[in-house]
């Protein structure tokens, strides 16, 4: 194996292990959710209102657009058009931040409709899952900023590093979509 191929493999392995670890964390959360939900007589529990779908749907769209731009970053990097890559990266970050702002609005809305963190298991799950996902979004954003810093022609293994950050961003997107479907839609 060449030194170059080896260090590419190292980066890919490390990224995948990190993603598997985080996936296990979220899988545990969803397992708990499945148990709560299947053992509850009605869902949402008596006297609890569902969260309005507007903000979660908007968040989904915004995050999807952000992932689309993220995909464009790696496409441009592969074509060696780094200035285009920077432009798309800025858009990725912008829409990522937009998603986070929408999450803040969502929490506000839940609070003003009387759904507090301590108002039972439905609220516990909705708040805790979105918080934990948000914390990972912060990590994802830091990864994007790191990519912003290294997105230059002289960076070693640039393509591998770009695709690592990209995969991590997709992972966060996938987790959100599962949350959107299971927590808000159904």
């Amino acid at each position: 194996m060449s030194t170059r191929g080896r260090s590419e493999l190292q980066i890919n392995l490390a990224t995948n292990i990190v993603i598997i670890s985080m996936a296990m964390l979220f899988a545990t959360l969803f397992m708990g959710y499945a148990i709560y939900r299947s053992s509850a007589p009605v869902w949402p529990p008596m006297g609890v209102q569902r969260v309005s779908l507007l903000l979660p749907s908007l968040s989904t769209v915004v995050l999807f657009i952000s992932s689309f731009f993220c995909y464009q970053v790696s496409v441009s990097t592969k074509k060696n058009e780094l200035s285009k890559g920077h432009k798309y990266l800025n858009l990725t970050i912008l829409f990522g931040v937009g998603f986070m702002v929408l999450q803040g609005l969502l929490w506000n809305q839940m609070k003003s409709s009387g759904l507090f963190v301590s108002s039972g298991i439905f609220a516990s799950i909705t708040y805790a899952f979105t918080w934990i996902h948000f914390a990972h979004m912060v990590a994802g954003l830091l990864a994007l900023l790191y990519l912003k810093k290294i997105l230059k022609p002289e960076t070693v293994n640039l393509l591998t590093k770009t695709s690592s950050v990209e995969n991590f961003w997709y992972f966060l997107e996938i987790v959100w979509i599962i949350m959107f479907i299971t927590l808000f839609v159904f």
């Binding site: 392995l13 292990i17 990190v18 670890s21 296990m24 979220f26 545990t28 708990g32 148990i35 301590s118």
Partner: protein
């Protein structure tokens, strides 16, 4: 961030970059070693306090009682007793065994034994230690806050661990400490897995790796997958305690929609059962190698040993329910978990037979690493066999939560891992520090550990079978248990004796470090890669990356004409 394969990092020159924030895997390994030995002392002292209380309820602790428990006249108070067994378990598992077996040996052995110059990600490696350090500091801090440390058992089951069961900040700090430790473990795991896959020396296939590396590698894989499960559990527990969510609150305490305390048990053991193997696999690997090295014979069925360890790692993820037979599980589930648990006996029996096959008719050298390895064979055998009683639903319903359980898991997780750890320390000390440990003192330490250790843990099996429950402050208020006082006294006396003989180890360690006999490159005459380079190895380990031509256990080959009875992994396998 990734370390190039062949590049030699410049040697650090300042004190800080050389000894404190070092990227060098050998220095990080030593940091983990001292960290682990420190916490081993703290956890051991706690064990002695627990044992003193059980053998002499209401009697002040001699020597240190008046300093530690001045409020109660030197007697361990009941709430402090709960904190002691909680912190003893937590410290021993996460802060003593994990750093020594995985942190120290993982860091030291993996790159050296596979012929690499460092880990794949040296910076991540350093961060892993400092996260562990932070975690340990948080845990120690929790001992000194008002209302004291966590007291819900190392398993921290709700409702004991919710605000109802433990109102103080201790339990929250416990959760935070465990979470940070999880991050540290995951960082380590990323490094170990990647290093083993990408940095093996040319010519080294997976089955040419020493079994030590196999054990550590499998441990790292399990770590990466299952530590985050506990991470999720403690995050939810923190949210319950700090933000008022109701994940683990049921009934009247949960206002609308019910949480589920038993869910935490599921989450805990989905992590917890693999964790048992996370702790024992490195010790199995070390022992599998050492038995071969000191019997001067190839490891019997080395490939089968590696594959059984692998299948145990896989099976370990499917059996966690056997910790929860008494939680009103469906009998269909208990039977499935029981059957899967019994299945683990098959690969365990394979590698156990391989251990015996390795020493069979060997020219055994009874040096201290070998003595400790043979100790592991004995105590792990006992620990494994007592596991059968607990994996079987019918007997477990009777034995659940008794000292039989305590005896069993101490035999497997404490005794074998401790002895395996000592074997490793005596074996690699010359390589780590360039000096030999005193062999006579090491032998005294072995017998002084081995005999009392069996007094303690076999005694626990007996009192448990006699019906004594764990975690009771004073079991002898129950008349039926008073007949167990003499055995409990035996256990405590053994514990004090064993504690005393650990001082011999500490003395030997310090003395050898300062003035031990200088070690040669290869004092034990074995052929794995780390013994081809000077003791201690230079900063970059290998001047030239070695090329591997044979397996790690080529000892006692009758065709050897070199005057040695072993050959190095860098030499072509000698054939007739």
């Amino acid at each position: 961030m990734s370390g190039g394969y062949n590049e030699i990092h410049p040697e650090p020159t300042t004190f800080w970059s050389k000894y404190i924030f070092s990227f060098d895997h050998k220095v990080i390994a030593k940091q983990f070693l001292w960290y682990g030995i420190f916490f081993l002392g703290v956890g051991g002292l706690m064990a002695l306090l627990i044992r003193w209380t059980l053998a002499n309820p209401g009697v002040p602790v001699p020597l240190i009682g008046n300093i530690l428990f001045s409020g109660s006249g030197g007697v361990v108070p009941p709430d402090t007793y709960a904190m002691l067994f909680t912190m003893h378990g937590t410290i021993m598992i996460f802060y003593a065994i994990t750093p020594i077996l995985i942190g120290a040996f993982g860091n030291y052995c993996i790159p050296l034994m596979i012929g690499a110059r460092d880990m794949a990600f040296p910076l991540l490696n350093m961060l892993s230690f400092w996260f562990a350090f932070l975690s340990g500091a948080v845990l120690l801090l929790s001992l000194f806050i008002p209302q004291g440390a966590a007291a819900g058992g190392w398993t921290s089951y709700p409702t004991l661990s919710t605000l109802i069961g433990s109102p103080g900040a201790g339990q929250t700090l416990w959760c935070v400490a465990i979470f940070i430790f999880g991050i540290s473990s995951t960082m380590g795991a990323v490094n170990y897995v990647t290093t083993v896959i990408t940095l093996r020396a040319p010519g080294m296939g997976y089955f040419d790796m020493p079994l030590t590396v196999w054990g550590l590698w499998l441990t790292a894989i399990l770590n990466a997958i299952f530590v985050p499960v506990l991470g999720a559990g403690v995050i939810l527990l923190i949210l319950d305690r700090v933000f008022g969510t109701t994940f683990f609150l049921a009934g009247a305490s949960a206002t609308s929609g019910s949480g589920d305390p038993v869910l935490f048990q599921h989450v805990f053991w989905i992590f917890g059962h693999p964790e048992v193997y996370i702790l024992i696999l490195p010790a199995w690997g070390i022992v599998s190698d050492l038995l071969s090295f000191f019997s001067r014979k190839p490891a019997f069925g080395a490939k089968a040993t590696a594959l059984s360890m692998t299948s145990i790692s896989i099976l370990s993820t499917l059996v966690y329910g056997h910790h929860m037979f008494t939680t009103q599980m469906s009998p269909l589930l208990t039977q499935s978990f029981m059957t899967l648990t019994m299945t683990i006996s098959i690969p365990s029996a394979i590698f156990f037979a391989n251990w015996l096959g390795t020493i069979w008719k060997g020219s055994i050298r009874f040096d201290s690493p070998m003595l400790f390895s043979l100790g592991v064979v004995f105590v792990f055998g006992l620990g494994g066999l007592t596991g059968l009683h607990l994996g079987t639903t019918t007997t477990d319903l009777f034995l659940h939560d008794t000292y039989f359980v305590v005896g069993h898991f101490h035999y497997t997780m404490a005794a074998s891992v401790l002895l395996g750890g000592f074997a490793g320390i005596y074996f690699w000390f010359p390589k780590m520090f360039g000096r030999m440990m005193h062999e006579g003192l090491a032998k005294v330490h072995f017998w002084g550990t081995m005999i009392p250790l069996n007094g303690i843990f076999f005694g626990m099996l007996l009192v448990g079978y006699g019906g004594m429950h764990r975690r009771i402050y004073n079991p002898f208020i129950y008349e039926s248990l008073q007949r167990l006082i003499p055995v409990n006294n035996l256990i405590t006396t053994s514990a004090i004796l064993m504690g005393f003989f650990q001082l011999v180890f500490v003395y030997n360690l310090i003395k050898s470090l300062l003035s031990g006999e200088k070690a040669t490159n290869n004092p034990w005459e074995v052929g794995t890669l780390e013994w081809t380079i000077p003791s201690p190895p230079p900063h970059h380990n290998y001047d030239i990356i070695p090329v591997v031509k044979c397996g790690p256990h080529e000892l006692g080959n009758p065709n050897l004409k070199t005057g040695r009875d072993f050959q190095y992994q860098t030499e072509e396998l000698v054939q007739a």
